[in-house]
Symmetry: C2
DNA sequence: CTGAAAGCGCTAACAA
DNA sequence: TTGTTAGCGCTTTCAG
């Protein structure tokens, strides 16, 4: 059960453990006689030797592990990101320790400590809050961090994100091109960076494009949930301000719009067009299929992992914030308005 | 950066490191003078001491980590299972090392080795193949394993699964109660235990209920994918054998049925009812909302974690295979057939 | 109840 | 190029 150790290998190869260690480590192999290397390697192979990372870590103070904090794995946004991270890290023999915060700051800080105590070599934070004491804490403790899908105000850590602003702009232009002039917007919580960035981009693009910029066409929600989306659309409809299309800050909010529209007997896209954001799985199966903005989640994760490896290796790349392109995916939920107003 | 060590704590408390260790460990605390314990604890607190699990593991040969192998985190079936596992394990200070096999046996075996070399205390296998050399390997190596969503033929490890047979039976009865007599079945790959169990249950229930048991009403697919589901339904329709409802081995296959039906202009549920299995997220948003069988995925993961902890603690519970109840979720895709045949 | 000592398996100076 | 030595931080015998 407790497998062969380096000492066993050394013994069998007739060398000292130290030499065996050097022979087996690619970094130091060059400093040892080629013949010896071969002898050690063959001994290791016949014994079925596998190094003990625990012992190595104790000595080197590096664990080849990375902590990843996300709000909730069950949210379909995250699995692809996590896979991107894992695929890149696994190729470099790193392992991910994943933890779900459920967006609770206390739990987040608690998990941070737990992972810290496990001596992870770095962190990937996939949590969404703009306020983020952890990031500064990590910076203070000198531990590498990469942010995913979010920014801190102080920009103390590198980040990878989808180009939300461009995504929102694409949706607005898409709808404007279809002939819509009055667009409503359902914004996500302004405590999240996506919430802030997307709303800002909406306002900006609406202004640029010369569309109706009525503040009563914007509702800010408290959470990225279907219920909040439904409530928001109801509020919008009740206000009486005319609009022919609604853009939701993400797909869940858009699903809520579907609910509210159905409940009020309003046809989509005939009377109101709806667009979401994130391009969750199966949106093409909805009725009508939901127009959304595709975010390259897998690539975001992969890139975050690469940045983190760079940081761990103390190769601080020149780029601090990587923005990956988003892409409008037009589907059946957006169409020209019933009658173009003059 | 390298935080205080046990030695520091001991020094500050004026005791030997060995004593400090005993005082801090709940298992051995009783063998230490209460006053001393208090002194050590206060020293630890003021120094902000956190134990080093690496060093502990090296000594105890236990890592408080568990390896979890799943085909693909991106498949919506798995995130809830993983969360169930993580939540239960985290509460016991265990950490999950997650790895995706993409259903490749080579990769699976490779990942097993990688996790083994990291000295995980046990494994949870969420892969689906009936053939599973890894399970026997683990048994031989004396390392605890729990299977999730699958069974091996030799039953060498405990397993947790949804009650697939009951789920399928519920669907069959549901359709029969609606008046259907000729049910088609699209089976998943017979190399997976779910594929086998569900098909068997279908045949059994059809026989029990005295429904049409025509072999040409069954198609076996090569993969649990939408495309395979569409192909299967096309094949079924082309055969010309009459049927008014089709049960798919899982939701992805059912989505494929939607595609094929739409393509042929066949109304669902008007002319053909469709049912899936697993109750993936957002099925209620489809049009028509897909009738499916809910599988308690989170609980399956949680229970698997509990069984694994039992095994690790050498408390082999009496139960070897835990089956959790599944529940039919009737939605709009199933309805009475157009005209009840006599 | 506590101290002393040994050692888990490995790596990294330092010598030779 | 290789051997020697000294731990990494912790637990756990064994004495006392």
């Amino acid at each position: 059960m407790p497998g062969p150790t380096l000492k066993d290998v050394a013994q069998r190869a007739g060398v000292h453990p130290g030499t065996a260690s050097r022979a087996l480590n690619p970094e130091t192999r060059s400093r040892v006689n080629a013949a010896t290397v071969r002898r050690v390697e063959s001994a290791a192979r016949t014994l079925g030797y596998v190094g003990n990372p625990i012992a190595r870590s104790l000595r080197t103070a590096r664990t080849l592990t990375v902590g990843m904090l996300i709000p909730d794995l069950t949210n379909p946004l995250f699995p692809p990101i996590v896979r991107g991270v894992e695929d890149v890290l696994a190729a470099r023999d790193y392992t991910v320790l994943l933890a779900n915060t459920d967006s609770s700051p206390e739990r987040e800080s608690q998990l941070y400590d737990a992972l810290r105590s496990r001596r992870v070599d770095g962190f990937i934070f996939g949590t969404a809050l703009t306020q983020h004491p952890l990031t500064t804490r990590a910076a203070r403790e000198g531990i590498p961090v990469v942010l995913v899908n979010r920014l801190t105000d102080d920009m103390v850590a590198p980040a990878v994100m989808g180009d939300d602003a461009s995504g929102v702009a694409q949706v607005v232009h898409h709808l404007a091109d279809l002939g819509h002039t009055a667009l409503a917007y359902i914004a996500g919580p302004q405590s999240t960076s996506s919430g802030v960035i997307r709303l800002r981009a909406f306002r900006q693009t609406v202004a640029d494009r010369g569309l109706v910029a009525d503040p009563s066409l914007v509702v800010v929600t408290q959470a990225w949930t279907e219920d909040e989306g439904a409530d928001a659309l109801r509020a919008l409809l009740d206000r009486g301000t005319r609009f022919t299309a609604v853009i939701a800050g993400n797909d869940m909010l858009a699903l809520g719009c579907y609910d509210a529209l159905r409940e009020r007997g309003i046809a989509c896209p005939k009377r109101i067009s709806v667009a979401g954001f994130n391009d969750m799985p199966f949106l093409d199966k909805l009725s009508p299929p939901l127009t959304s903005v595709h975010v390259p989640t897998y690539e975001i994760g992969a890139e975050a992992a690469r940045l983190l490896l760079d940081q761990i290796a103390e190769r601080p790349g020149p780029v601090r914030v990587v923005t990956l392109p988003t892409r409008l995916v037009p589907r059946g939920s957006t169409a020209a308005p019933e009658s173009t107003p003059h």
